[in-house]
Each structure stands twice: as structure tokens, then as C-alpha cells.
Amino acid sequence: MATKASRSAARLMMAPAVILLLGWMLVPLIMTLWFSFRTYLPLRGGDKGWTGFDNYVRFVTSSSFWPAVQTTLIIVVGVLIITVVLGILLAMLLDQPMWGQGIVRILVIAPFFVMPTVSALVWKNMFMDPVNGLFAHLWRLFGAEPVSWLSDAAMPSLIMIVSWQWLPFATLILLTAFQSLDSEQLEAAEMDGAPFAKRFFYIVLPHLSRAITIVILIQTIFLLAIFAEIFVTTGGAFGTRTLSYLIFQRVLESQNIGLGSAGGVYAIILANIVAIFLMRIVGKNLDH
């Protein structure tokens, strides 16, 4: 087994990655913490000194805080429900024998590879434009008044765009889980006369539960941080300002660094709560 020499060599080989990540984590984190306790307005007088927890209190008591929390929750939960439910159905379908399975898989996965700014712009202009968008044409075809999607129904539109981007991810992972399902067990249940619903809820769903949990956790972490989609479509207007977009605006647009940093600390805490659950599952998997 490993000798003493190879152990210290191994430690040396790990060092660059560990040191870099440690620096990447600690330096900005400490700076954010530091700024969050100060009144810091680079364009209006610079660093005006220590303010204690003022920024933390002001961030949560500002009128834009709760709407932003609500928006964030609606987007995350909305996209999760859509992608997980449709993902299960789609994975179930793709797991069936058919002609051209490989090509269908490619078609379904493709949106995941489209860069966020492209998908946001394509949806915004070519589909949701109230005059020339494809939806407007479709609405007129049925004699309906075209909708200004991104101003009158901004949240559903945004959820749709983001769901389109993430459905492939959910489908692909659930499909991988489906493929490891013991088909003999299913066939046995079918022969014993178990109806489809029973087979689904007692055999398929329990088998998928781990994959579903992982999809939910990973997507939550990414969805809490969506940026480009909002930046390009609404710029945070029409009730689409999420918590991370609010922080972005405080930091870069209104240049209130103290306040934005306090918001950043909240975002970091929130993401860590989700991350702990994800780590538990991933960690358990490392043991066997």
C-alpha cells in the first residue's frame, strides 16, 4: 500500500488545488463580510466607516426585500415542479423502445447547451415579442389579442424560459436513473396484475427518489443564482427581481457596497443551507 513517501507526495500534489480554492473562498468572503459592516458608497464619499448591523437590518427592512424573496421562491419552486414532473414523464417515455431514440435524446438535451443569454434573447424577441413574436402570430391566428409576455406576464414567461433550459438536465439524470431500474421486478409486478399506478408509485418512484432529490438540490443552487435570463429579458422589472438580482443592483447599479454585501451574506447563508443537504447525499455515496 501507500508508503510514507507517496503520502507526502500525494499531499504535495493536492496542495495547489486546495490552496487556490481556499484563497478563492476566503478572500472574497472575508471582504464581503468586512464591507457588510461598513457604510461604503464608492461614488458618494467612499468608505464612511463602521455601522455594525445596520446594513443587515436595512436590507431586510427595505421595501424591495420581501417581494424579492417571494419572486425567488416562485421561480425556484415553479421551475422545480415543471422540470421534475415533466422530466419524469419525459424520461419514462424516452426509456421505452422506439425508433430513433438517440436522435430524440439529442433533441431533448439540446437546450441545455444553449448559452443563457442566447436562450433569453431568442425567447424574448422571436417568441414573446408582442408584435412580431411567434406567440403573437399564434394568438392572432386564433383571433386573440397578442400578449406582452415579458411585461404583463413576466413571471410565467421567465419561469417558462428557465424551465426550458433546465428540463434537459432533469430528464437526462432521471433517464439515467430509469435505466438502472430492475426491469424484471417491474415485469413480475405486471404479471401479478399490479396496475400501472401501483407499479409507478411502489416501484418506480422509490427507485427514482435519490435522483429526484439530487436534481432538486442541484437545480435549486443554480436557480437561486440565475442572472443572465433576468438581465437580458426584464432587467429585474415587472416583478422579476430575485434576491440575487436585487443584490447585483445594490452592488453594481446603485453602488451601495455595504448594503449589497449584507445581502450577499444572506445569499451565501441561504445557498449553504441547501448545499448541506446536497453534501450529505453526495458524501454518503462516497462511502460505497
Binding site: 473562498m25 472574497p28 422506439m98 444553449v114 438581465f231 462511502d287
Partner: protein, 276 residues
């Protein structure tokens, strides 16, 4: 899975799956088609699906007008540079964790993963400030380093899961025969690890190519990659559908093609080996 079903059932499956697949793919298909239309045909009512005069005019206009080449070059440098730099740092780390594991290996791996969970917006200003003070705002090298750090946990994890599948017995046999650490790395591990390294490279190139938080916030002109190029097509230029489509197609085409090769790695890379 080879299950036998009736041809009728198979036909139903096929029809349903193709219909849904095409529906999901439609926005991409529509973008590609529109990029070959004239601006007039792009907004024609009712929309024209295939029967238009195919033209390459939009591609020519976009290339002339916007210096597309520079954005593309920046994307290649940033995505490629960060991936390669990440691999250089991650390969030794993942190797040592997979073959000389210690009690703390698991903790180190999980800790690395936790750095990936840090929300970018939470550290936006510190990074922004550091870039200004070091004079590397709107600089390609800065983005190479930042994207490398963002993806380093994923790179280490992917490599680790691949390396762990290499049987240790082979290594032990080589050690018995008196192979040095260097020989072990060069002649035994590297050839067996190449498929895993290639997959990691591919997936991380894609992730870095599509990254749109740091690339939008830390670039202006010089270092702006394709994500920023497209964001600049926000109104009013975005209303020129044909040109927007041409620009979009050029930005996503290389990655769509690479992506098709990396489906399987996608699952492994993004679930940290938790779903196989």
C-alpha cells in the same frame, strides 16, 4: 434495455417521443431557420417555415458589423484556457485522492464541492474591486483564472470519479516491479486516464463557454466573449430577428456539436458521481 413490445406500442412511443423532442428543440430550429431569412421574411405574418429565399446575408452583416471574430476568439481563450489550467491543477490532486486516499480525502472533496455552492453575487464586489485594483478588469487572463476557480471543484470531482475506476491492482503490480512514481504516472495511469480526462475537458469547456455571470460583469470591450456579444443584441438590435438569429446560431453552434458528444459525462459531472 432490450424489452420486446408490440410494433403498435413501439410506433406510439416513437410518435410521442419525436413530437415532444421536436417541440423542445423547436426554438433552436426556429433560430437556425430564421438566420437564413431576410429581415422582412423573418417577421412575415403568417410566419414562413421553410419556403423562403435562403440567404447568408445576415451572417455577413453580423460578422462585418460586430467584430464577431474577436468575441469568438475571447470565448475560445477563456473557455479553453480555464479548462486546461484547471486540468493541470486538478489532475495531480484527483490522482492523489483516488490512489493515496487518507482519512480526510472525503472531507476535502466535500469541502471543494462546497466552494462551488458559493453564490457568485455574494462575492461580486470583492472580485470586481480586486480586478480594478490589480488592473485586470476586462482582461482575458482574469477571466481564465476566475472561471478556472469556479469549475475547479467539478474538474477535480469528475477526474476523481474516473480515476477511482482504474483498478489499484495494476498500480500495485507496477510498484512491485519497481516502477517509480514518475513511471507509474507516465506509463500506467496516464494512458488509462485519458478517456476520463477528455470527458472532463469537454464538459468543462462547455460550462465555461456558457458562463454568463462573471463574463457579463467583468468584461467591457477587450475581453468580452460571445455571451456578452449576444447580450449586446438586447433591444433595439434584437428586433432584427434575422441578424439576431445569425448571431445566436454562431454563438451556440460549436457548443451544440460538442454537447452531443458529452451527454453521458454531463450526468457524471453535474451530479458529482451521485447518479450513474
Amino acid at each position: 434495455m432490450a424489452r420486446s413490445v408490440s410494433p403498435r406500442r413501439k410506433l406510439i412511443n416513437t410518435t410521442a417521443a419525436w413530437a415532444i423532442g421536436l417541440l423542445i428543440f423547436f426554438p433552436i430550429l426556429w433560430t437556425i431557420l430564421t438566420s437564413f431569412k431576410t429581415e422582412g421574411q423573418a417577421i412575415a405574418s403568417p410566419p414562413i417555415f421553410l419556403g423562403f429565399d435562403w440567404t447568408l446575408e445576415n451572417y455577413r452583416t453580423v460578422m462585418e458589423r460586430s467584430n464577431y471574430g474577436r468575441f469568438l476568439w475571447n470565448s475560445i481563450i477563456i473557455a479553453g484556457g480555464s479548462t486546461i489550467l484547471g486540468l493541470i491543477i486538478a489532475i495531480p490532486a484527483a490522482w492523489s485522492m483516488a490512489f493515496v486516499p487518507s482519512k480526510r480525502t472525503k472531507d476535502v472533496l466535500l469541502w471543494m464541492l462546497s466552494t462551488k455552492m458559493l453564490p457568485a453575487v455574494g462575492v461580486l464586489y470583492p472580485i470586481y474591486l480586486l480586478c480594478i485594483q490589480l488592473g485586470i478588469l476586462d482582461n482575458r487572463v482574469a477571466l481564465v483564472v476566475i472561471l478556472m476557480l469556479i469549475n475547479l471543484p467539478i474538474i477535480v470531482w469528475m477526474l476523481y470519479t474516473y480515476f477511482r475506476e482504474i483498478p489499484v491492482e495494476i498500480l500495485e503490480a507496477a510498484r512491485m516491479d519497481g516502477a517509480t512514481l514518475k513511471e507509474e504516472l507516465l506509463y500506467i495511469l496516464t494512458p488509462m486516464a485519458i478517456p476520463g480526462i477528455a470527458s472532463t475537458l469537454l464538459l468543462n469547456f462547455i460550462l465555461a463557454w456558457n458562463e454568463a455571470f462573471w463574463t457579463l460583469n467583468l468584461t467591457a470591450v477587450n475581453a468580452a466573449p460571445l455571451t456578452a456579444f449576444i447580450a449586446s443584441y438586447s433591444s433595439p438590435e434584437g428586433l432584427f430577428f434575422a441578424k439576431l438569429s445569425a448571431a445566436s446560431t454562431m454563438a451556440i453552434a460549436p457548443i451544440l456539436i460538442l454537447g452531443w458528444f458529452s451527454q453521458k459525462q454531463l450526468v457524471r459531472g453535474l451530479t458529482f458521481g451521485a447518479v450513474k
